[in-house]
Symmetry: C2
Subunit: 209 residues, 2 copies
Amino acid sequence: MTVAAINVAHDVSRCRRYHLGMGRWEPNARGRLMQAAFALYGERGFEQTTVAEIAERAGLTERTFFRHFADKREVLFAGAQALQELLVSTVADAPASLAPVEAVAAGLEAVGAFIQEGGELAHERQAIIAASAELRERELIKLASLAAALAEALRRRGVAEPAASLTAEAGIAVFKVAFERYVEETNEQDLPSLIRDSLEELQVLTAAR
Amino acid sequence: MTVAAINVAHDVSRCRRYHLGMGRWEPNARGRLMQAAFALYGERGFEQTTVAEIAERAGLTERTFFRHFADKREVLFAGAQALQELLVSTVADAPASLAPVEAVAAGLEAVGAFIQEGGELAHERQAIIAASAELRERELIKLASLAAALAEALRRRGVAEPAASLTAEAGIAVFKVAFERYVEETNEQDLPSLIRDSLEELQVLTAAR
């Protein structure tokens, strides 16, 4: 109970930055819905939580929920589009002199810093996703779409195929492994530096032929 | 009609190697069901095909279908377990002196050769999967499970984390890009050599920092 109460208190501030202000009559409805959903998913599990329960916990109606999210799953993936835009724009804005892998590194480190800013949110979200096969699958699909967007950003920098897809897929592989290390209990490194380390390690590993 | 007829004729021989001999009373039921399913998915699309239609085309009952496959989707992914076992056993059997990335390369090239042996089957399967969001998602999940099995095979060779996961994820990224090149209409290279080329290109790309 204490832990849950602390989580809820943390969520209030954390969810605020996701607030898109869709209606003045319900201040921060989006943030309140996210906070309620994360708390319930953590307490009962994702499958056992209904949209009605999320709305009730947030003191809002189901109708309001569906104005903000397509379904209860999308509460967990609402940030994916913002992450993708951050990744793509960082790669696009990187100096033209940077090698493709360096542009990708810059993009992934920006994403890492953004996730890091969210504090414990990433860890809570990861625990919820790890507990559900459906959510793990959705996460894979979001990562694949991140890889496709990254490859497209590289092609727009003039990187030819298959170099663009290879660099993008390898970059997402690095991100995935770095993120797994980040959410581990024992880890104390920040996410951008884990991404940098993993990329350097990949370089050493592929060179060892 | 001519193309479909040729495909069906090809499928008969191709599907034979998937036959697991689950019942003497229906010779090659599994192969006949696969052949019928691939033909119908190609003609009508995956979503528009029912299990009843597959069974009818194969001259078998729905009950027989469900003795061989959990559902119509699994017809397309029945080979995944065999591929995974081939990958894992090749990595396990690679000389201890090989660097992790070389052991992964050996495993992926063995998988590539196996797919290559199936002739046009990989191309047909890819076209069916590309046309369906549900199947594309299932393919991503199978690739993720391939990456996890590969990482485990590396750990059993004594490779520590995160090197094992990084090498495995990068290996699957290489495989994915090589396979996409392989099924492209214009490609004339064989799959194992595309895998080798992609791995070498990744090495060059990650070194360019």
